[in-house]
Symmetry: C2
Subunit: 342 residues, 2 copies
DNA sequence: TTGTAGGCGTTATCAA
DNA sequence: TTGATAACGCCTACAA
């Protein structure tokens, strides 16, 4: 109690007139403990304001109480939603969240990550997309004995290590909605190669068209990389095609904002001349003009669930309830979609 | 080396044929060490892939290597920029970042924070606005011996505990720009009461008008709370005034997007009928239509500097270079401003 | 320049 | 049901 000002387990033991181990048992809710001893110790703990030192526990238990968030996601809102969901799960537990961005492009990414995990000896990590799609990262975690749960747009791993949304189905539904409105010439702005989410969304798009018997010419597909600018460029390509598409599905909101931009630069009215659907339901979707119809996936819920999976069995509460592994997305209908021609 | 698979200082010592202390000296770059011994130990460390256990170090040193980010900022991009800046500073150090959102509205916020800080015994915390403006929080940190640095829109603390932007001056400049363009009826959308940034920005606005000898009727001021919707509502109030303002300064970008929305709903052309300036230069600023003229403050640089202040003296590199405490903002000129009437 | 003994605050083992 | 003793992996103080 001298140096740091914080009382230690020794102080509690001495004052309560019991051994350290007994105090430890009280802290850890050991079942074999006399009621009176427990009460007495708890009294002292309360009086002293004693708080167990997590570092010491980490050392003794050979594992710490840090959950890592490993991400390389460029979208701030998405990352924040994940953080929020994780923290909801970690709230009132002894776990804390440490954030670790990684550089997917870096040649040493895997080595850096290994070094980080080995050094910090994290209790577990939550892998966000798109890095979560990288199987070598999951393998790395498994190899060095670090628990992990991956978030993704499709099931990439066994349920214990995965929470997934079903992007394909969501996009199929969104595209179906455009078709219902009467659209037949529908352009597609895709995400970057190598992204599972990009692949899933495109597959959903193609499935919807196929189901409706609508041909999909190559000219109606343009690839982007999830950025505003790439969406703008892709839209310019699509809008050059004659006859022009009457609707465009964009694989994320940011690119959809670029599509809106491009359309407006050509004097096109949205949704009269062009309907647009995005994906993610980031704040930008509600704030662009006109407000963007988009697909919302339950990011925070997924992250919360993922974190709960990670610490499952560690916390006494309702560990019997299995965390779900598959999450449903919903189409948010706003003003950017109408029947062709108004 | 048995349980965890990770080699310990003992393994290194045994294999290198030296004492633990010698290995410890190598790790901590003690100057008094024979070159050959050092080389030999370093060789073994490399061979074994030995990494010192941060938990054990934390225990022995009675302090850990975690830097906290305490925030209650609703803007995702701002928080992410701060995280990025912090992590840049922490890169290649032994420090990690743990994130702690707090609820400013909660009655137990201060108690929660105290509990968090006492339990985790963080090395230090970075306080983001607006919670950083709360003097009791700073006092709490000081009381329990936790280093802290506050980020803010004005100097609220001594340089060792503060990195600040100069919002007042920035807004004065931005408003001056509108005046230069010929605007005389300029509306102001303010931030929420109790926010220092809101106060500073408003002061800057008023100073600019006063300097130009322009009266500021009460009707030209509408308060918001930094959200899109509040900006929209505020703009509706301002645009109802006759004669209408020819320009509006909005205290952040999100509200400025709401202003744009409101203007468009009335069929006003921006910038012909209404010029708009925002604050923050979030991505939304570049992506709305028309692109928004706004004030950019160097968030990431400020956060990096704040983190470096926190760990100053701990890292050997260039600790002689004092971290700056005041950061300048710049006006980013885009298409949302023109002379009145086009 | 290097080593020994002891401590940081906690938990595990095993005996009482 | 409790307690003594020994870890956990590292660092400081003091010796050699």
């Amino acid at each position: 109690m001298r140096k740091t000002g914080q009382p230690t387990i020794n102080d509690v033991a001495r004052i309560a007139g019991v051994s350290k181990k007994t105090v430890s048992r009280v802290i850890n809710r050991s079942p074999l403990l006399g009621d009176d001893t427990r009460k007495r110790v708890e009294q002292v703990i309360g009086d002293l304001g004693y708080i167990p030192n997590p570092q010491a526990r980490a050392l003794a238990l050979r594992r710490n109480f840090l959950i890592g968030l490993v991400h390389d996601n460029p979208n701030a809102q998405t990352v924040m939603n994940v953080q929020q969901g994780m923290l909801e799960a970690l709230h009132d537990t002894e776990f804390e969240m440490v954030v670790r961005p990684v550089d997917r492009g870096s040649a040493t990414m895997l080595e850096d990550l290994r070094h980080f995990l080995e050094r910090q000896r994290l209790f577990g990590v939550l892998l966000m997309p798109p890095i979560s799609e990288n199987d070598s990262v999951a393998k790395l975690c498994a190899d060095i004995g670090c628990r992990y749960v991956r978030m993704g747009s499709a099931v990439l791993d066994d349920p214990a290590h995965m929470v997934a949304s079903n992007d394909r189905e969501a996009v199929r539904g969104a595209t179906g909605y455009l078709i219902e409105q009467g659209h037949r010439r529908i352009g597609f702005v895709g995400g970057p190669h190598g992204f599972r989410s990009a692949r899933e969304r495109r597959a959903g798009f193609e499935e919807a068209l196929a189901a409706a018997g609508i041909a999909l010419p190559r000219s109606m597909i343009a690839d982007g990389n999830y950025t505003f600018d790439s969406g703008l460029v892709a839209a310019e390509r699509l809008l050059d095609v004659i006859p022009r598409p009457t609707a465009i599905f964009s694989s994320n909101d940011e690119m959809a904002a670029g599509v809106i931009h491009a359309a407006r630069q050509r004097g096109l009215d949205i949704p009269r001349d062009l309907s647009i659907i995005g994906f993610d339901d980031t704040p930008i979707a509600a704030h662009v003009w006109p407000p963007l119809t988009t697909v919302r996936w339950p990011i925070a819920s997924m992250a919360r669930s993922a974190a709960l999976k990670l610490i499952a069995g560690e916390e006494e509460d309702d560990t019997d309830v299995e965390e779900p592994s598959l999450f449903l997305s919903t189409l948010i209908r706003r003003a950017s979609v109408a029947a062709p021609g108004g």
